[in-house]
Symmetry: C2
DNA sequence: ACGGTACTACGACGCATTTCGTAGTACGTT
DNA sequence: AACGTACTACGAAATGCGTCGTAGTACCGT
């Protein structure tokens, strides 16, 4: 329960990334992260689902390589992997964030 | 069996578009369409699934607004809705096509 | 040590999606 | 009219996904 694994930048797959973004709840998370200046604890997100469902979605995002999560006390701080995403799939993140 | 309905450009939803792109078979179709100079009949696609499954995926793409399909004899010619997509979600299609 | 907070693991349920085969329709050709 | 081609509709099976509750772990504060 101490180490969270993340895929490397070169390991990001377009299929996985698109699938991760294709869920409305996860899209909310990504948008809230994009608008945040600092890292956010999971608990600070405003999501219309239960705690365990949140955990599930954060895990999907992390395993797809969209966010980075690290422990900080009892919390987990999440950040958007902007730079890695922009390098690997230029324009993708911005296009999704601009939408709607 | 004559008229195929397509969503309007303003009716395109980012969730639906991303979900449509998140399937490997459908991504193949989109890529093959992007590389084609002219409209393609469904039969000319090289896909690792059965005929009825192809029909299903083409329908999903059409209903998401990614492709346009029109009857042409016994065939259906499909084209990518590049312009509509670029207007509605600038940069998205290109980013996906560039990936991998 | 105790309690509280933040998150996870697990199992379960319901629903959507992917897949296919079969049967059928529409159209062109002979 | 008869046939072949291209695609669709429908139903069925398998799989996957989103959702949740419960029980549990890890950490911090008192």
């Amino acid at each position: 329960m101490r180490i969270l694994t993340h895929p490397s930048r070169d390991g990001l797959q377009i299929d996985t990334v698109l699938a991760a973004l294709a869920d409305p709840v996860r899209l909310m998370i990504v948008k809230q992260l994009a608008n945040a200046d600092a890292a956010q604890a999971c608990v600070s997100f405003d999501l219309p689902v239960s705690k365990s469902t949140s955990t599930h979605h954060f895990r999907v995002l992390r395993e797809a390589g969209l966010i980075e999560q690290q422990y900080c006390g009892t919390s987990i701080n999440s950040t958007l992997r902007r730079e890695d995403l922009d390098r690997r799939f230029p324009g993708l993140l911005q296009a999704v964030l601009n939408a709607s």
